[in-house]
Subunit: 356 residues, 2 copies
């Protein structure tokens, strides 16, 4: 697996006429090496594959990182790489322009005065768009945990409970069920706060007659799930029920259309049209979804402006939403694995409106 | 408060002969503006103060950000700033070289072709070294939450419980007690795993006769506490008890010496000497502490190599530790506010060995 990824990356290096590539993003390093710590550098040359970390990770990296020459340094990652002459003989080296600060770039220039550095973008991320079986298995496990957590959290949602209490319990259930961590900060938005797509949970108490929007994810071996459900606390106003119906239809229609080979912008349009037809078009204010893997948001882009053609083997989210200022919000989000003739939905929580 | 910070930053801009400064780190932006969201840019010129964010944060930024001209854009932060001509008339603009990617730097050059850009470092962080009363109050509240959490988690620590279960419960208690979030990923390390200073909690079950090391923090209005305690599960081997005594003495001696005006390296040496004298010198493998505020690790540096002179009004951690490979680890960490003649300890959990 690691071998194939290294070979794939070397092929991309050749296309870009690079003798070496410095990988500095931790998600990309995890993809290439399996390393799960918080400080590392990978240097790939045509003949060598180096991994650099610090003494905190001596034991852990020995266990996780195979197929790389490992260096545990103490001066700083770039300084350690320079001291070990990892770019000896390299004339042109690429670096990830989105994952290197300007200060690090200056260090590179100072430490390797003879090397010409060339900014690159998405060299590793491009390889990771299509998931292998093992990766899909991780996302499936993460999705199964999220489904369990959703099922269990329903028992705690009642009038008078705060958003923060529910968020804390979701995090706790996540870990109890075996997740490494939350995939991102849990979103719990009740009543009118549901109209903020990125609401942070507050001490606001839930009330009868409101929608409660829950958006959370679980991380397993680095891979994330991302699940949103919206439930009703008692009877909600008719307009919000209609919004729910529109979002549900958009979710189901997009899921039925999702497959390898479709344009991402077309899939977005399919969902958007459902919501528009039911009169909520101007309240669907974000993209339909995003790629999902070692990063919670990754390629492909699944939006109206995306030029990506979706590929069989990608995992994406499908998450239409409607946000009505002053009233509330609805979002229904699933994770799907794209195949040639359709898709497989990895999140299995019920989509029909649950009234508590 | 915001006014004083803006004035302080303008004074530093003058020292560096800058007509403008772009602030891109979210912690720095929060310090200057009060904004707590996840996407923003501040542009400070000699006469103007701009804040840029996106539509997700229209409502929130209106509430949080005063004294700045607010722009809610849609093209991307730098593009929005360029379209609004925020650097009109500026010849030399600074940017944070540690908080701007190389790709963003290239965008800057493209979007503002007439401006000369100069990398800066620590312009805002330098202002934040000394805390005002309101900032200290936030850290105190965070520390009080951590103390409560420590007190409560003791009831759950017993043989057979896993590190992950305890970590999940610490996160949950943190939020139940009113923290915005964990200040960082909770560390729970039992038995020999305590020898890894940055251990991530695992499914390992705790056993009688082991030390359990707990390191966690609480965030309140952006400010963090950072607390470590090591407790014994039943009777631990004599050598580990001796290690505990050495670390405790180092903690107490350093706390008694901490005050504004002392060299950080001297304070580190004071603690290190206690541990050395008791024969554990080579097992104290990290710095004595670090500055604490909107960032969990910030200036001043509190290490043997630091050249910082500690200032009255800084909050720092004091966290000596001993890590014996194969046996386990001990760390006792407090947060202290430095004053002219001494320091005030903000974390009040008992430091004497607790045997469960």
């Amino acid at each position: 697996m690691t071998d194939a990824r290294i070979a794939g990356l070397r092929a991309r290096m050749r296309e870009h006429a690079l003798d070496a590539l410095l990988v500095t993003s931790l998600a990309d390093i995890r993809y290439l090496t399996g390393f799960s710590g918080s400080n590392a550098l990978v240097v790939l040359t045509t003949g060598d594959a180096f991994f650099v970390s610090d003494s905190r990770y001596a034991l852990q990296s020995a266990r996780e990182v195979k197929k790389f020459r490992r260096l545990i340094g103490s001066r700083g990652l770039l300084e350690d790489a320079a001291a070990a002459k990892m770019l000896r003989g390299c004339r042109v080296a690429g670096f990830e322009s989105d994952a290197l600060t300007y200060a690090q770039y200056r260090s590179l220039r100072r430490l390797f005065p003879r090397v010409r550095f060339r900014p690159t973008s998405g060299m590793v991320a491009g390889l990771a768009i299509v998931k292998d079986r093992q990766e899909v298995a991780c996302i499936e496990e993460a999705a199964a945990i999220s489904d369990h957590v959703f099922h269990e959290i329903l028992k705690s949602i009642r009038p008078g409970v705060t958003e923060l209490e529910i968020a804390a319990e979701i995090s706790w259930l996540n870990r109890r069920r075996g997740a490494e961590s939350d995939a991102f900060d849990v979103i719990v938005a009740s009543g009118p706060r549901g109209a903020l797509p990125h609401a942070r949970p507050t001490v606001r108490k839930m009330r009868k007659g409101e929608f409660i929007l829950l958006d959370f994810g679980s991380t397993m071996r680095g891979y994330s799930s991302d699940l949103t459900r919206t439930v009703a606390l008692g009877a909600v106003p008719r307009r919000m029920r209609e919004a729910y119906r529109a979002v549900l239809e958009a979710n189901e229609t997009a899921t039925a259309s999702a497959r390898g080979g479709i344009n991402a912008s077309v899939l977005d349009a399919v969902a958007r049209e459902c919501i528009r037809r039911r009169g909520f078009g101007r309240y669907f204010t974000h993209s339909l979804g995003h790629g999902l893997g070692l990063r919670v948001h990754e390629r492909p882009r699944v939006s109206a402006l995306s030029r990506d053609v979706l590929q069989s083997g990608s995992v994406i989210t499908i998450e239409p939403g409607v946000y009505i200022p002053g009233s509330g919000g609805v979002r229904i989000e699933d994770d799907v694995l794209l195949g040639d003739g359709g898709c497989r939905v990895l999140t299995r929580s019920p989509r029909e409106l649950i009234v508590l």
